[in-house]
Structure formats: C-alpha cells, structure tokens
Symmetry: C2
Amino acid sequence: MNKTPITVAYGDGIGPEIMQATLNILEAAGAQLDIEEIKIGEEVYKSGITTGMEPKAWDSLRRTKVFLKAPITTPQGGGYKSLNVTTRKALGLYANVRPARSYHPFVETKHPKMDVVIIRENEEDLYAGIEHRQTSEVYQCLKLISRPGTEKIIRYAFEYARSQGRKKVTCFVKDNIMKLTDGLYTKIFNEVGEEYPDLEKEHWIVDIGAAKLADTPELFDVIVMPNLYGDILSDVAAQISGSVGIAGSANIGDQCAMFEAIHGSAPRRAGQNLANPSGLLQGAVLMLQHIGQAEIAEKVQNAWLKTLEDGIHTYDIFKEGISKEKVGTKEFAEAVIERI
Amino acid sequence: MNKTPITVAYGDGIGPEIMQATLNILEAAGAQLDIEEIKIGEEVYKSGITTGMEPKAWDSLRRTKVFLKAPITTPQGGGYKSLNVTTRKALGLYANVRPARSYHPFVETKHPKMDVVIIRENEEDLYAGIEHRQTSEVYQCLKLISRPGTEKIIRYAFEYARSQGRKKVTCFVKDNIMKLTDGLYTKIFNEVGEEYPDLEKEHWIVDIGAAKLADTPELFDVIVMPNLYGDILSDVAAQISGSVGIAGSANIGDQCAMFEAIHGSAPRRAGQNLANPSGLLQGAVLMLQHIGQAEIAEKVQNAWLKTLEDGIHTYDIFKEGISKEKVGTKEFAEAVIERI
Ligand SMILES: CC(C)[C@H](C(=O)O)[C@@H](O)C(=O)O
Ligand SMILES: CC(C)[C@H](C(=O)O)[C@@H](O)C(=O)O
C-alpha cells in the first residue's frame, strides 16, 4: 500500500502526549502514513501570528489535504483568532461530524443505549465572526445563514446517514423565533429530505430537542444543526455518553479534511502522563476511514474497544467497580498496541 | 388580607384545562386574588392581530402588573409574532427565572440531587428579532448584547442567589468566539461579582458548561446566561430533573411580572383531561411569593409535593414501580386540594 501524506500538529497542553500516543498506536497497527509536522498554537500566536498557524503550515495542508490536529491553547486577551475556526473556514471544512456513543458497561454512563451522530454546520452562523461595537453600550454579532451553506450541510447529513446504514435524520433549529435564518434551515431540510424517501425525517425546536437529547438520547440517530447549537449539543452528547474525553470529530470539506478530539488542551493536566488519548485516537480512526485505510481503522478501533473492555482506563473515565487498572497516557497506548 | 388583582389568560391547547386546575387549587388554598381574564393566542392571532394579544389586554396588564399565563399556540406561517417574546419586551420582563429540581424518589430522574436555578436574560440576544434577507441566498439575524441589559440580569442573578440563600453563581457564555458580545457578559459578570464576596463565582464556556449540566447537574446552583443559551439549557435542566411538564417560570421586570409553565400548549393532548397542571402550578407558586402571599404559596407547594409523594401522577410522569395511581388533570387537582 502507498503511504498517504498527512499533516500533523502536536498542539499545546496535553496535545503532544496524546498525539504521540495516537501516532504510536497508528504505527503499530500498520497505518501507511507519510507524516509532515507543522507548528500551531501558543508558540505561533506568541510570535505575533494572530491565527496561531505558521504560513508554511498552509502549504503542507494544501498539499496533503488531511490534517490530524491536537488541541491548542489560545492565549487570553484580544486580537487572537480561533485557530479551529480559521482552519475550518480557510480549508472549507463545512461539515463537522461528531459521533457520540456509549460503551456500556465498560465506560460508565447513564445512557447505555446511546449512539448519536451530530452533523454540525461548520462555517456559518454566529461563527462567521462578524462582531462589532455599535456604541460603548451596545455590542452586536451577526448570525449568517446562506442557502448554499445550508443545502450543503443538510445534503451531507442525509448522504452520511444513508452511507452509514442509519435510519433517521433529525433537524434542530429555533425557527419559531428566527423565522428567516433558522426558517431557511427547516425549508431546505424539508426540500432536500424529499430526495431521501428511505430515511425517516424529524424536526425539533432546539430547546425541547436538546432536552430530549440530554434525557433520552437513544431516541436519536443522526442530527443536523447550525454551527452554534452543534457546538453546544455535541459536547452534551459526548459527555453524557461517557466523557468528552473519548469523542473524536471529523471536519470535512470538498478538498480537505481535519480530524481532532472534541476536548481542549487541558493545560493543567499537561506533561503528567495523565491525559486520555482516546478522543484524538477516535479522530484518527475517522481519518483512516477517510483516506481509504478502513481495515487499519477497524484494527485500531477493535484494539481500543478491547482495552476499554479490559478495564484499562485513564483517570478521567476510571470508576471503582467498572475499571480494573488506572493507567497513564503511555500505558494506555501500550495496552492498545498489545491488543492489536 | 386584601385581594391582589392579577391578569389571567387561559391560552390554547391544554391551556384552559391546566389553568382551571391551577386556579381551583389556588382558591382552595385561600389565595387572595382578584382575577381579570384576557384573551390571547390562536383566536386573537386569527382575528388579524399579529401579536396574539387583544389591545385591551395591555390595559389589564398595565393595571394589575401580574400575569398568570397559560401556554398558547402560534399559527404556522409568516407574519405572526411570538406572544411570549412580545410580552416580555413590552412589559420589560428582563429576567426569566427557571428553577429545575428533582423530586427523587417520587418522580423518576437520573439526577436525584439536582437543584438548579437558571436565570435567563429575557429581552436581548438573537431574540431582539432583528432578522433580514440580504439576498435570496443569504439571511441574517442580529445578536444584540447591551451593557445596561447585561448588568441588570447579572445583578439580578447575584441578588437572587443571595436572597434565596444560595451559594454559587455560574456564568455560561461563548466568549472564546464572540469576544465582543459574550465577552462583555464575562467582563460584567466579573465586575458585578466583586460586589458579592459572599457568593462563589464560576465561569464556563457554554459548550462544556452545558455538557456538565446535562451530566452532573448537582455541580450547579444558580446559572446566569444570555437569552438563547438560557432557552435551550433551561429546557434541558427541567427535562433531566424529571420532566419539562413540572417546571414553572417567572418573568420579572421592574414594574410587571409574568408567570407560566415552561412547556407549550400541546394541542394533541388538548381537551382530554390528560395534561399535567404542575408546570403552571409551579409558576403560580412563584407568583404567590412575588405578590406577598408566601404562606399560601407554601401551603400550595406542600400539598403538591404530598400529591407527588403519594404517587398520584399524570401520564407524563407516571412510572410503574414509582407511581401509585394514574390520574387526569382534574383528579390531580382534586388530590392536591385534598392535601391542602
Ligand atoms: C475551541 C472552539 C473555538 C471550538 C468551537 O467552538 O468550535 C470548540 O469548542 C469545538 O467545538 O471544536
Ligand atoms: C415559545 C418560545 C417563543 C419560547 C422562547 O423561545 O422563549 C419558549 O421556548 C420559552 O422558553 O419560553
């Protein structure tokens, strides 16, 4: 098999540790990767680049088109731009795919039957970043919803559901209040939905939809929603499935794709061999599927599941009575590698 | 005791049934109320009034300054305005107080120790209703955050916490993305917070904050947040505490106040003596406290709790093994009245 070129960034905080662990596992599983490393995050921000990404990083990304990214820390204070948002926009990564499933009885959860995928629109909404100070007393931010952007994400959600053998696509919006912007979402959801008679369609106002998701997530399958709702509710879904620490995500565009953990860089845990590499590893599994190394992806996933099942857990998911052995980042990775 | 004039609207769907049940309970408990009835909702909308509120209703509200409101149905299609939003704005009801606590072991919940109050800003944010079509392909909605509005709600939250003997106030915003609007929130939260050294202060980005709330709500006490996050997360909190069907809310302004259930008009359940009047009754209890009839409020609350404890439950919270008797709206109200 030819090696696939990918771009990798070790990030900040716990980033380097979980990236090393992840890459070790991928290598042991025989992933065919040609890795280019780039620098992003704190160090780059502090050098004066407000996006947190060195210019030559973009060359690498445009060449490889595949980005495995560890979490970064954005320095406090004004002037800095979110690297996540910049990357998503610069590379046109319009779909953020965020699976959240429970691993009952191996990881504690109150929702043993949950298996939800949130498809989050990734470029528009309040994340368009159009904010200004009207007067010293009044601040504004623009929520932007476009027809092409909405059509793209909704079609992506239906195609995803069909290709993954899923049964239902649900749409969450607040169209009883935002009749134009969120109303457009509903309209396009209904229009595009007609092309998918094989899939069940469902629509909830986001308040009560979120309430049902948090209470009985097993009612849901694939859920598509605008950027901000998706940001909030994908964290909710991941956390109630077990932990935000074990969820990965794929940011998909027409040309490029970025894969990451959904959690942050947790600076206070950094450098202590404490962090759970599972979120990033789950991102890497999605990456392997994306670049056509599905068999390797399956090998990694099975070894990871076996490790969880054997009760070998990092501190964040360790629970007396369920877990067997509390391990650090390195030991967890070694345990996964032993099980490949 | 002098009777307090209040304005009452029976609303749509299950509204009339739960309002009748609620008023019967209040009367039996000796609440001193002088009730003025107004018409709102479907019938008024259909008569061509886009706000769903007949003009003379405003006179009543300006006179009594206290509004007990059943849920209404807004007809589908364009042109209609949300009556809730109109009323909140017209009467300056800037604070929406939404308690969510569990009644374990009498009402089923996965979160037996939860006792959270969400203080939702009620006039600004994307609810300002400034939306427009830029082109046929691009729609926009304005999120508006003002310094006076933010100061008011944050001060309200701290005052509320102090007066209710609560310990901690948490702020939820997305200030890593919306650095101006949500950033202003954080700034003012920190400023105003300094005046309350007796209270613990906490700040979460709304995504991970929401995740923690949905997973371990017992970590929270009072949470203050902008309108839209508050809309979504108060439904989440109520639902995971037991049901959105048992939560009431107070909309508080400097002059007027409105009390309601947090759920909607559930047209499909209407006229069948099925609905749970508890949400509206909880709103009414908050109203009695507000108008200085705290002893009556306590009588009602204790009788209601005793009814729940005795396992006399409407269909929505009925659970084999926990509930004893499945009753309708009227029978539930009678059971509460017997226990006063
Ligand atoms: C770090 C932040 C900008 C980002 C977002 O809001 O999208 C994160 O919360 C996420 O969900 O990936
Ligand atoms: C009916 C709707 C306009 C309202 C809102 O969004 O505020 C409701 O969801 C609520 O929370 O009271």
